[in-house]
């Protein structure tokens, strides 16, 4: 495939939203990028060692999208995403131990071992998942925006989806509702070029790019380069402000690339694309390398500082795997917790009539 990355002048580095970043905040963003990368690499190691079940959809290569977007969140901003959800989770500040333990299926996991890789949630951090069905989260994201508007809160929802989700009906229904009702939402297509093993050109009909489909709904849209965290922040900030101030939705397409397969079970990751293509992205378009280059140039970090942050990320991720390994599995009795709110809270409603139908 042709490169989805558009080389643009680096004006976004001078965008006010980026210029206003403190040195500490910039270092923090670099730390977030490294923590996600290392978490993913180490989770892959333990997956391959047989410590986890099911799927593992890794975010490696896409880190600047989640970190850039989440760094813009205010008190009343909310996010929701699909199944490639670890990066967003760590970016909003979810505990790495709890994230890793969830992969291990342990009771110390963020969902007590009930959700797994695809189903991370942290409502206290305005993070609403973590959803396994392609585009199934897009109506929910629309609902978060609806809820904000209904409650009279000034904020926005960011609803992430992959390029493979743009052909689902629920996504189009969400676009229509968001535009029709004037909802404060930013739909963010993280376009990594492949819906599992099918390239964009083989899966989607579109005019110039996927985001341009917004025209059909009278919605603002923009394509951004996701390899540069500064560009992500500049572009998404504008869309968030439109949402917060004008109750208007935006459809953003952020081009990015995943180095790993669709999931670790993707046996064809070098068949639908070449190894050379993957290596070229790693070499020339790596979001962590690009942000590091910015920070070195700005004098925010030196090589030693970069290495220190990365080493700490490796150590934290390894420690999270140790934590997960040492944690206990859930007890069988926990199977019936967290099904019904009323039952869990032991309310009168929760104790009236039979709720479970085991013999």
């Amino acid at each position: 495939m042709s490169s989805p990355i558009q080389n643009k002048p680096a004006s976004h580095t001078k965008a006010a939203i980026n210029v206003s970043l403190s040195v500490e905040k910039k270092r923090g963003l670099y730390r977030d990028l490294c923590r996600i990368r290392r978490f993913e690499q180490i989770s892959l190691k333990y997956y391959n060692a047989g410590k986890m079940g099911g799927f593992l959809h890794l975010y490696i290569g896409q880190e600047a999208v989640a970190v850039g977007c989440v760094s813009l969140m205010g008190e009343n901003d909310h996010i929701i995403t699909a199944y490639r959800d670890h990066g967003h989770a760590l970016a909003v500040g979810m505990d790495m131990n709890a994230c890793m333990a969830e992969l291990f299926g342990k009771r110390t996991g963020c969902s007590k071992g009930k959700g797994g890789s695809m189903h991370y949630f942290a409502p206290d951090k305005n993070y609403w998942g973590g959803h396994g069905i392609v585009a199934g989260q897009t109506p929910l994201g629309t609902g978060l925006a609806f809820g904000l508007k209904y409650k009279g809160l000034k904020g926005a929802a960011m609803c992430f989806l992959g390029d493979g989700a743009v052909n689902q009906g629920s996504f189009h229904e969400s676009l229509n509702l968001a535009a029709l009702f004037g909802l404060p939402i930013v739909f963010i297509i993280e376009n990594n070029g492949y819906s599992m093993g099918t390239s964009q050109k083989r899966s989607s009909a579109y005019p110039g790019c996927l985001a341009e489909r917004a025209v059909g709904y009278g919605m603002a849209w923009k394509q951004l380069n996701g390899e540069d965290l500064y560009e992500v922040r500049a572009g998404v900030h504008d869309a968030l402000e439109r949402a917060r101030n004008e109750n208007k939705p935006t459809l953003l397409e952020i081009t990015t690339y995943r180095y790993q397969g669709h999931s670790v079970a993707d046996a064809n990751k070098f068949k639908y694309r070449t190894k050379e293509e993957v290596e070229r992205y790693e070499r020339e378009h790596d979001p962590i390398h690009i942000f590091k280059t910015h920070l070195l140039k700005e004098g925010v970090l030196d090589e030693a500082g970069v290495a220190t942050i990365d080493q700490a990320a490796i150590a934290e991720a390894e420690a999270s795997a140790q934590f997960a390994g040492q944690s206990a599995y859930p007890e069988p009795a926990e199977i019936f917790d967290d099904v019904y709110w009323e039952v869990d809270q032991k309310t009168e409603a929760g104790q009236t009539g039979r709720h479970f139908f085991n013999d």
Binding site: Q137, N176, V339, W341, A349
Partner: protein, 330 residues
């Protein structure tokens, strides 16, 4: 006592709950300016305005999912499916999102929503508009399901459903909307309002020889059958209206069977995996020694809903069929 139609009783429930809690709002196709395709929400938009009573486009997956998402932030949407049959196009939002998000988040999230609308056949609208999915919904732990048979039950159960903090699937009936029952005015009630807890069955007719367990419109089929059994055959049938499918009041069923020793489960589901199938399994296990005859089921005949009016009429359970089956075991 005053008489109130089933639709009017529902409307009163909405009106009272809209007044009680500012987070409660109604949405759906034609519920606002059109006053509801079946006039259940008539007048509520005029009274409560655009914010609380909202029209949606024909976009069930979109607006149901939107309501589920809003409920995670504390809004309490009551969403109308113009026909419950349209659940199929919103299935992922209803089951995977509303039904599973609490579990998959380890209890961090709950969805206080109601999805409501008519779920019945018998109106000659063909198979696509004639589904009775209470058995399908009840299959999913995390979901609650309610099927009221009278105006009284419709009002009381709706108020409980709206206050419930779990997703409640509320199934009404176009053939009952215009029927009237006694419904007390709030001033006549000790608590000042009518709220019926989910998970409590109601014995609609007492009897001693056979139990008819049913819900929804089948309750009225059974009541007619019970009259015939009494007047023409001297058989005393007890009619147990489940009202709530999940949670389920098993004790009322078991107690009735312990009294009558015979059971027919009557509902408008197709036979395979019907509500009656579940009841039959529970009763044979827990009341085996009490039974003097096999448990029978009367369901809708096992084919998609027939359009032709005379044929559809016999496809659903009729009093005559219930009587005939009862005579087999009495």
């Amino acid at each position: 006592m005053r008489r109130l139609s089933y639709r009017h009783a529902l409307r009163e429930a909405f009106d009272e709950e809209l007044a009680r809690d500012p987070m409660v709002m109604l949405m759906g196709e034609e519920v606002a300016q059109y006053n509801g395709a079946y006039k259940v929400t008539e007048g509520l938009w005029a009274k409560w305005g655009d914010k609380r009573v909202m029209d949606t486009p024909i976009s069930e997956a979109g607006f149901i999912g939107m309501g589920v998402g809003a409920s995670m932030l504390g809004v309490r949407p009551v969403m109308e499916l113009m026909f419950w049959s349209f659940y199929t196009v919103a299935w992922d939002q209803i089951i995977n999102n509303a039904g599973m998000v609490r579990y998959m988040s380890g209890g961090l999230i709950n969805c206080p929503i109601v999805i409501r609308g008519p779920a019945n056949s018998g109106t000659n609208v063909g198979a696509t508009h004639s589904h009775t999915p209470e058995n399908v919904i009840a299959q999913f732990p995390g979901m609650k399901c309610v099927v009221p048979a009278t105006a009284y039950d419709a009002k009381g159960l709706m108020k409980a459903a709206i206050r419930d903090n779990d997703p409640v699937m509320f199934m009404e009936n176009t053939l009952l909307y215009g029927e009237e029952w006694d419904v007390p005015d709030n001033s006549e009630l000790p608590d000042g309002e009518l709220v019926i807890p989910l998970g409590v069955a109601d014995i609609k007719r007492e009897g001693s020889d056979i139990t008819l367990v049913c819900h929804g419109r089948a309750v009225h089929t059974c009541l007619k059958a019970a009259e015939i059994l009494q007047s023409e055959h001297g058989i005393s049938a007890e009619v147990v209206d489940l009202r709530s499918i999940r949670p389920l009041d098993e004790e009322t069923i078991f107690n009735s069977v312990r009294k009558t020793h015979r059971l027919i489960c009557v509902d408008e589901n197709k036979p395979f995996g019907s509500i009656g199938s579940q009841i039959a399994a529970m009763v044979q296990q827990h009341c085996f020694d009490e039974l003097d005859a096999p448990v029978l089921r009367v369901n809708s005949l096992d084919a998609p809903a027939f359009y032709s009016p005379p044929l559809e009429k016999i496809q659903n359970p009729t009093p005559e069929v219930v009587v005939a089956r009862a005579l087999e075991i009495c």
